[in-house]
Symmetry: C2
Amino acid sequence: MERFDLNILGCGSALPTTKHHLSSQVINLRDKLFMIDCGEGTQMQFRSMKLNFNRLNHIFLSHLHGDHCLGLPGLISTMGLLGRTAELHVHAQPDAEKVFKPALQYFCNRFPYQVLFHPFNPAKNELIWEDRTLKVYTIPLKHRVPTAGFLFEEKPASLRHIIREMIDFYRVPVSQIKAVKDGADFVTPEKEVIPNHRLTRPGKLPRKYAYCSDTCYFEKIIPLIEGVDLLYHEATFGEKDSASAQLTFHSTARQAAQIAKSAKVKRLLLGHYSARYPDESILLKEAQEIFPETIQGNEKMVIKI
Amino acid sequence: MERFDLNILGCGSALPTTKHHLSSQVINLRDKLFMIDCGEGTQMQFRSMKLNFNRLNHIFLSHLHGDHCLGLPGLISTMGLLGRTAELHVHAQPDAEKVFKPALQYFCNRFPYQVLFHPFNPAKNELIWEDRTLKVYTIPLKHRVPTAGFLFEEKPASLRHIIREMIDFYRVPVSQIKAVKDGADFVTPEKEVIPNHRLTRPGKLPRKYAYCSDTCYFEKIIPLIEGVDLLYHEATFGEKDSASAQLTFHSTARQAAQIAKSAKVKRLLLGHYSARYPDESILLKEAQEIFPETIQGNEKMVIKI
């Protein structure tokens, strides 16, 4: 199986503690790195997890609260000092460029590489990045400020598998087999269209990872994340603090589990813990009562998707 | 002796490593905290050294390179989330406000406290802050961008000591003893002026701490830091990399020691180490050959001044 790993750099919430760093994750898909959120201290965590700055070309910011993005100028500065020349792409809401440009112009103006901001509309579910191996979609979330989660969908490395007996039955010529494996329908000499799904079976299913933070309990995301292999859903609070969750547009661990269950995801990963919990195993317990396949996220964890 | 401690939060140079954090120090003078520089990650180090955000009212920035100031927005944001209401004073060059204002306006606009920038001219040696217990002066340094070090001078808590036999000899009345202890001359009934230094001895000498980073070897600072109790002088490089020091306007450990020796300081503290040294004891050794009273700075060190 080709590499599709999730690295957790930080899974604390607004206030950094001695235990948790601020939000940041890095996806490693076939040795290309994609960062999600970039709280203060992200570059240090990146380094201490022995990730390679040269393989990082895309950063996705869910929203513009400081704990999710204030590590950006330092990270950009460090990559410049290390001699980076490749463009860096920052996918974020339109405000991001305005907010960060003055600091970048001041601190990073002599670096031999460009930082390109790609604004997206956090209220829409749309494709915002695509390359040979990956598609990234936004997932509109509900928080105090405009916020989007992200769905990372691998492009299947393998083509569809032909069904030998159907190929023989319809006499598909060898010259057209490649197109059929790629997903094309077949047209017989008699102009009859044979739909592709009668000629082929799917190849390997594409793996999917969904990142949903920060958000209150929001059922509209369920169809957008249905069946994903791994769902990261914020679980800032436990049940006893559900009033705080409601007030601040965050979720409880139990609500995260409810979303995971309704969306029939394979596994749920918790994070974005409030600093008030000295031990987050209570959050894990509350989530597992509803959705047993729950993992308690932690710094330096690497999860295979 | 009243408390006058130096806390080292970070003593690495431009690139954070797994070993060193970016530049920041906190002076604790009689339980009031004064921060010098604020690289990314400073708020985490502040917390892990169990310092108290409520006692911090002044931040001094030596220069506007990212590794000395990019932790400022996150620190300001965290103090806001913690409910701070007291004003925070940031002493820095005139550009600082322009550079940080957009991020502060965006991320910290709803906080119940004000951040006030106090610009200073880094090319001048002048008093930039004074309160009941402390005077802070700038020390012009020589670096690639305008940079100033800082001299922290305690105001002596105790008055001058009277010399009993002289007080008796001149028949200084009891009603004037307080004025004499405060430093006043005494005028006899015959209108003869007795200068204060014949009536008193100095009380406790004021303690002094000088912070000099970043800078190349720069002899003009010597008279400004003469005899200080502790000098922090950057020692980015060792002798074998003295060409790099010259090129980047940094100092070698030996140069730091030479300055300490010429200025007859009591102790020298090294820091701002280049990431290229896996073990900085070579820097300590090179400095101690010239100035034995040298300390190798390290994160979480607390030094009594």
